[in-house]
């Protein structure tokens, strides 16, 4: 199970937070801060797995993260997930974002967090991996966007 998915930048500003378990807003912010603190002090060439983090998880949970340019993608997962599998999943996620936004950069995530959520929803549902095939994800996302577009134009027409 995935407990949370967080994206924040090099300064710890949250760009997306998806918790699959309920926390109140303050705890969520604390978790983001703590996670950022843990992740950001790590060198570039150390492993991508991290134990600990008092607020989220416990002994069964791990933080698995990847650092792309200005952004950290962090998944908090329990032992039922394959560590390397989740790393691949992050890669798929980022590649999907890249396809959907055409050369994704931090600004895309800043201004279109709702779209990022929609893409993520096609990959992970309720903390469980739903789809790992990038083409399938993009097909579904595109189809929904098309539907949205048709609705908007019909309103304006």
């Amino acid at each position: 199970m995935i407990k949370a998915i967080l994206i924040f930048n090099n300064h710890g500003k949250p760009r997306l937070s998806k918790f699959y378990e309920h926390y109140n807003e303050d705890t969520e912010q604390q978790i983001i801060r703590e996670t950022f603190h843990l992740v950001s002090k790590r060198d570039e060439n150390v492993c991508n797995f991290l134990e600990g983090g008092m607020l989220i998880g416990g002994s069964d949970y791990k933080l698995i993260y990847r650092h792309y340019a200005t952004l950290y993608f962090v998944f908090c997962v329990d032992s039922s997930e394959s560590e390397l599998g989740i790393l691949d999943l992050i890669q798929v996620f980022v590649e999907t974002l890249d396809k959907c936004f055409e050369n994704v950069c931090e600004l895309d995530l800043i201004f279109h967090v709702d779209k990022v959520h929609n893409i993520l929803a096609e990959m992970v549902m309720g903390g469980m991996v739903l789809e790992t095939n990038m083409n399938e994800i993009i097909t579904q996302v595109d189809a929904q966007n098309k539907m949205e577009k048709s609705e908007v134009t019909s309103v304006l027409a």
Partner: protein
């Protein structure tokens, strides 16, 4: 109206959208909070408007603000409004907002139930999808209960997109509403074989998640998962399955044996690191589960360790980390194979990556031995000095303590050394683990009697230098150590060299700055010390020394009497008064020391942490019974306060007391004594009271600490310390002369408290080993209590509720709640029908009391409904027959069968279940012809016994919905009629590896003709359905074809590939030329002429099985398909492409699926007149009749309905639901078969095939 919409959208243009909000926030970096609060005000205005577009825009912005940490729960109702918009665009925004901020205590969730239900059944798949996604985040127990049935319907949706989401969300539903698990499980299981890989993956995901928490309930799925593992090419699915097997193998070691080979193949063949790693992990789990009796798996261990070493040595830190992680698992059972890589692991301790260092530390835990403990700890102590961060240092500290204290200090040969280490650790700055060190000190001092002298000396030094520990504010945590020091010095004060000095140190004014609980221990133990000092001084002729000591106490204690801490105050004033009284007596020259000592006499024994929980409830004591009747509810409110202060009301208890006679009283007294004896917390402090208990009859129940007397700890006449020295000397005498010197030096070092730094090599440590200079006192536990009982499961774990036996048939109360006016819709799903119907006949499972209540209520309604169900179902063509049978009968046996099976069924159904799994497990991992056939025979012989044993219970495991239905309806009848069952059928079906439903083991107590006779008759000849497909010098292919009952147009061809040459065979591709009627199922995206890659490679001499699915249109005639297998033969130096042509022969038999049928159902079928007749005569058959039947059953997928002497009726069903009935008669060497079937062409072909079978033999 249209105008309004247009107006709304124009309004909207002037509102801020999400992008504007983000931009605004970025432009107001200085006063962000203020800016956002004005934005929130705007949003509130927007939410008040009627226009849904404006509202949706506002909600979208709120979702963003929620991420920044703003509470938006006040807008929950508006979110619901947006969710219920008919436009997908807005709906999606609403559901996203809801998924981000709704949770169980959001009250508006109640309002969403109908909206969500509507969205779930929306014709637009994306509406449904969005609702499912949202629901997965905020599902509550209420929503789960109300929507479970709707979601279950969606699991069979036509769109795979919806199916996979519905399957996945079921896990959340199960968690919130555990009652839904059993009704939904059959369909979930069915989804494991969904044609869409996404849906399949989702089902695997859910079942793995369920099984991870309660693996034993899912053991029966092992064959299915095994099949998926060997056929799936999706790495995600494979990883999940392999992880699941890792959880299952500890429960069933035989499963492990079966897994080793395919897993090893995968390890060799896969290029995906993630998959390789999980395979290694599971192989490790298998090896652990096998570790007991299987020494010959060392090759596998070596393979794993080798692969892991490669990972650890990799430059990729991730692989290094995972390698270490997996290594620590091997360590637990095969420490030897890991220990040889000690160099590598110690090297990792120096890694710059903290995660890796921590993992390496974990490994050290298992790598220590008596030999290398000191060496390793020394290295760790060096790291402690070097470590920068406190977190890592604290981790090191706990690890050192863990390593040393593991399994009862097993590896510590020298406790003086250990105490020195602990003392050294107290010098760490800023550690949080003072209490950990303290508890270790206490534990060692209490349990290792021989070390007390040394420990007390060290502790006295600590107390003397207490200012070093407390001086710095940073060292707050460490002063806990003083707690232990003070207690040890007080409790074992007889070992102190200079008790007066220690007493002085404990009464220093500085002590008052310590935390209260430590001061309290100081005061209490000062009193103990005082007693010791007094005793030593009273012996002297000069009494002034003793009086001085009393004066010291009287001078210093008032400081503590003034303490703000209540406990310190209380103890201090109590002891002060005592000392004052003693002083008075001393002035009168009274010898008082003995009496003061008596205050603290008696040994304190260590008590195991779980001891309290383990104290057994004595016989005759009912903890739930009231001691005094509770006051009646009416008076409770007014009288409660009075009752607390007033004396116990006699009127409640009196009458009960009078009823108790003398005998009863004696019995109770006895019980109480027993209880006290068993209770480690019952204080037996004074020697006199202990004596009383020794005389009491319950004395043998007092837990007696086992002391290993191979080391005589107490030699009369010698004080403890002398004994310790003597032991040391004795040991040294045994040492070789050259080591003597070294040893002595070391001992001296230790005496001075720096034992850790001795530089003697590991050899000398080994010499210490046999000395056993210490004996560890075990912790006290009540008798018969096992410390290892796994009673530490978290009772709040939501998965505990999901620990449900899934193999038991469904009971009538186990239905998902359905809204009544939707009942008709529900009926469309076959599984639902099955559930409803099975309800009529199966025993109820254990239910929560709540459920029981519900059941009562629902029962009538349910029955009425199931009656309706049945009527409606008649419309289903293929179910017609089963329906007629059921007609009026199903209602009546309900009560009866329920009653009988409730008692008899549970144990038996599991027996049958287990025996099926047993069979699968006992099967060879890669069945070759002879092997398989042999096991079949073995099972056939074993079958009768298990049949009888399994009694009346219908076998469980509802495999396919249609099937369970017919099966179960019949079973109710079945019990009544007490029919016989065929063992051949069992044999055959098992052979099919659970691909199909289960037989009903019956026997019902009466001697079944079949079972009785079979044992006398000679065993069946070996049989196998695998026939040769093609063969050349490289490879041999044999195949078997089975119909797929779930899909009337599918058959599964299982092909065993056997490598016959000395080379490696790889890149095998299986291809056939499709005909109009039959097609090979290829993965999506591949062309109609592409071959299928065989998902494994074959090392020399190895065989493995792959399955291929074919789609058939018509099944009434046999067909042949031409095909080719291409593969690469890889030698050391060369590789060549080879191919092998084959002809795949689909006989009509392969479309038949053996289905149980009962004689009355069979009779009805024959009478119905829909069937066409045909017959055939076989001459010269010389085999016994039961062999003949077995052969028909086995080769042609029939089951015996009834057998009377030399005549038997048999039944089978095709995958497209044609009924085939046979009447087989034998006289002499002639066998005549009369057959009926609703499809004459099919029948003709089947008969031809039967004829051919017998002409061959």
């Amino acid at each position: 109206m249209a105008l309004k919409i247009v107006k709304g959208s124009i309004d909207r243009m002037f509102d801020k959208n999400l992008q504007d909000l983000v931009r605004g926030i970025r432009n107001h970096k200085e006063d962000e909070a203020k800016y956002i609060s004005t934005c929130i005000d705007e949003i509130k205005q927007e939410l008040k408007q009627d226009n849904i577009a404006v509202k949706a825009n506002a909600v979208c912005k709120l979702t963003y603000l929620q991420m920044l940490g703003y509470d938006v729960s006040w807008a929950a109702f508006n979110i619901v409004e947006v969710m219920s918009s008919s436009k997908f665009t807005y709906k999606r925004i609403g559901y996203l907002a809801a998924s981000q901020c709704f949770h169980e205590s959001t009250d508006v969730i109640m309002l969403t139930t109908n909206q969500i239900r509507k969205d779930l059944s929306s014709p637009n798949q994306y509406d449904t999808g969005v609702a499912l996604t949202g629901l997965s985040c905020f599902v509550t127990p209420d929503l789960a209960r109300d929507l479970a049935n709707d979601i279950m319907t969606l699991m069979s949706h036509t769109k795979p997109y919806i199916r996979k989401k519905a399957v996945l969300i079921m896990y959340k539903v199960f968690l919130k509403y555990p009652e839904s698990l059993r009704p939904a499980f059959p369909r979930l299981k069915e989804k494991l074989e969904d044609p869409d890989p996404g849906v399949q993956s989702a089902a695997v995901n859910v079942i793995c998640e369920l099984a991870r928490r309660n693996p034993k309930n899912y053991l029966s799925l092992a064959p299915l998962f095994f099949k998926l593992m060997t056929s799936s090419t999706n790495n995600w699915v494979l990883i999940k399955i392999i992880k699941l097997f890792g959880a299952l193998t500890p429960l069933e070691p035989r499963l492990g044996k079966k897994l080793i080979e395919p897993l090893t193949n995968l390890i060799h063949s896969t290029s995906a690191m993630s998959l390789l790693y999980e395979c290694v992990n599971t192989v490790i789990a298998v090896l652990i589960s096998l570790s007991s009796g299987m020494p010959n798996h060392s090759a596998s261990i070596q393979l794993c360790v080798q692969k892991l070493r490669i990972l650890i040595e990799d430059s990729d830190q991730n692989l290094k980390y995972l390698g270490l992680l997996a290594m620590s698992k091997i360590l637990k059972t095969h420490p030897k194979s890991v220990q040889s890589h000690k160099d590598l692991i110690l090297q990792c301790l120096d890694d710059k990556d903290e995660s890796i260092r921590l993992r390496a530390l974990d490994l050290l835990y298992g790598m220590v031995s008596k030999k290398n403990l000191m060496e390793i700890v020394k290295k760790l102590m060096l790291h402690v000095d070097k470590a920068e961060g406190t977190t890592y240092r604290d981790e090191l500290l706990t690890k050192i303590i863990d390593i040393c204290s593991q399994s009862n200090y097993q590896y510590i040969t020298n406790f003086e050394w250990y105490i020195s280490i602990l003392v050294e650790l107290t010098r760490l700055e800023g550690t949080r683990h003072g209490h950990l060190i303290a508890s270790q000190m206490l534990d060692v001092a209490i349990r290792v009697k021989a070390i007390r002298v040394f420990a007390v000396a060290q502790m006295a030094t600590l107390l003397d230098n207490a200012h070093l520990l407390t001086g710095n504010v940073q060292r707050k945590g460490i002063c806990e150590v003083l707690y232990a020091a003070a207690w040890i010095c007080g409790e074992f004060s007889e070992h102190l060299d200079n008790p007066t000095q220690t007493l002085e140190a404990m009464l220093r004014p500085k002590v008052a700055t310590l935390p209260g609980h430590i001061q309290a221990v100081y005061v209490q133990n000062a009193a103990k010390l005082f007693a010791t000092v007094l005793k030593s001084q009273e012996g002297n002729t000069d009494s002034t020394a003793a009086q001085e000591t009393s004066q010291l106490m009287i001078d210093r204690l008032p400081l503590f009497v003034q303490s703000a801490n209540l406990e310190v105050q209380e103890r201090a004033s109590c002891i002060l008064q005592l000392v004052k009284y003693i002083q008075k007596l001393q002035q009168k020259d009274v010898e008082i020391a003995e009496e003061v000592i008596a205050l603290f006499a008696g040994e304190l024994n260590p008590v195991a942490p779980k001891a309290q929980k383990k104290v057994p409830v004595p016989e005759g004591l009912d903890l739930d019974a009231w001691i005094n009747e509770p006051p009646s509810e009416s008076e409770s409110e007014d009288e409660q306060p009075r009752a607390i202060f007033a004396k116990e009301e006699p009127k409640h208890s009196r009458p009960r007391h009078t009823e108790v006679d003398e005998k009863e009283l004696a019995k109770r007294r006895e019980a109480r004594k027993q209880e006290q004896a068993n209770n480690p917390f019952y204080i037996k402090s004074s020697p006199s009271s202990q004596k009383v208990y020794q005389e009491a009859p319950g004395v043998e129940h007092i837990p007696v600490v086992q002391i290993d007397l191979s080391v005589p700890l107490k030699v009369p006449g010698l004080p403890m310390s002398d004994q310790y020295v003597k032991l040391e000397e004795e040991r040294r005498q045994k040492d070789r002369a050259d080591k003597k010197k070294k040893e002595k030096k070391k001992r001296k070092e230790k005496r001075s408290g720096r034992g850790k730094r001795h530089d003697s090599g590991p050899e000398s440590e080994e010499d210490i080993t046999p000395a056993h200079m210490v004996d560890i006192v075990t912790e006290e536990m009540p008798e018969n209590a096992l410390p290892s009982d796994d009673d530490d499961k978290d009772p709040n774990d939501p998965h505990k509720a999901l620990d449900i036996d899934l193999d038991k048939p469904l009971a009538d109360s186990e239905k998902l709640p359905v809204r009544s006016h939707r009942a008709a819709e529900v009926l469309k799903s076959p599984a639902q029908d099955g559930d409803a119907e099975s309800a009529a006949s199966q025993e109820p499972k254990k239910k929560s009391s709540k459920e029981k209540r519900e059941k009562k209520k629902d029962k009538d309604r349910d029955r009425k409904k199931s009656k309706e169900d049945k009527k409606k179902k008649k419309k289903h063509k293929h179910e017609e027959k089963g329906e007629d049978l059921l007609g009026g009968q199903a209602e009546e046996p309900v009560v009866q069968s329920e009653a009988t099976s409730e008692v008899a069924a549970p144990p038996t159904s599991t027996t049958a279940e287990v025996s099926d799994l047993d069979f699968w497990l006992s099967n060879a991992p890669v069945p070759s012809n002879t092997q398989e056939a042999a096991t079949v025979v073995a099972a056939a012989e074993a079958a009768p016994t298990s049949e009888v044993a399994s009694g009346t219970a219908p076998d469980s495991e509802p495999d396919e919905p249609k099937d369970t239905e017919t099966e179960e309806t019949k079973s109710s009848k079945h019990k009544k009629k007490k029919q016989k069952k065929e063992k051949e059928e069992k044999e055959k079906k098992k052979k099919k590896k659970h691909h199909h439903h289960h037989h009903h083991s019956d026997g019902g107590g009466e001697e079944s003709v079949q079972n009785g006779t079979v044992e006398e008759e000679e065993p069946l000849p070996p049989m196998s359905n695998y026939c040769l497909l093609a063969e050349n010098s490289y490879i041999k292919m044999v195949n078997d074809i089975q119909g797929n009952l779930q899909d009337g147009s599918q058959v599964v061809v299982s092909v065993i590939f056997e490598n016959k040459c000395d080379s490696f065979l790889k890149s095998m591709e299986f291809n056939v030329l499709d005909s109009l009627n039959s097609k090979l199922q290829r993965p999506e995206g591949s062309g109609p002429h592409d071959g299928l890659t065989v998902p494994f490679q074959l090392p020399p001499g190895v065989s493995n099985e792959a399955r291929f699915v074919f789609t058939m249109q018509s099944i009434i005639t046999p067909q042949k398909l031409k095909g080719t297998l291409t593969f690469i033969v890889k030698n050391e130096d060369s590789s060549t492409h080879e191919k092998l042509d084959f002809k795949l022969h689909f006989t009509c038999t392969s479309y038949l699926i053996s289905t149980p049928c009962y004689s009355d159902a069979f009779a009805k079928l024959l009478e119905s007149g829909d069937l066409k007749c045909s017959s055939v005569k076989l001459e010269g058959v010389v085999m016994p009749f039961h062999h003949l039947l077995a052969r028909i059953c086995f080769r042609h997928h029939f089951s015996v309905v009834e057998r009377i002497d030399s005549c038997a009726s048999m039944y089978s069903r095709s995958i497209q639901d044609h009924h085939v009935c046979l009447l087989v008669k034998t006289s002499g060497q002639t066998v005549s078969i009369d057959a009926k079937c609703d499809e004459p062409t099919l029948l003709g072909n089947v008969l031809d095939e039967i004829k051919q079978t017998f002409s061959q033999c």
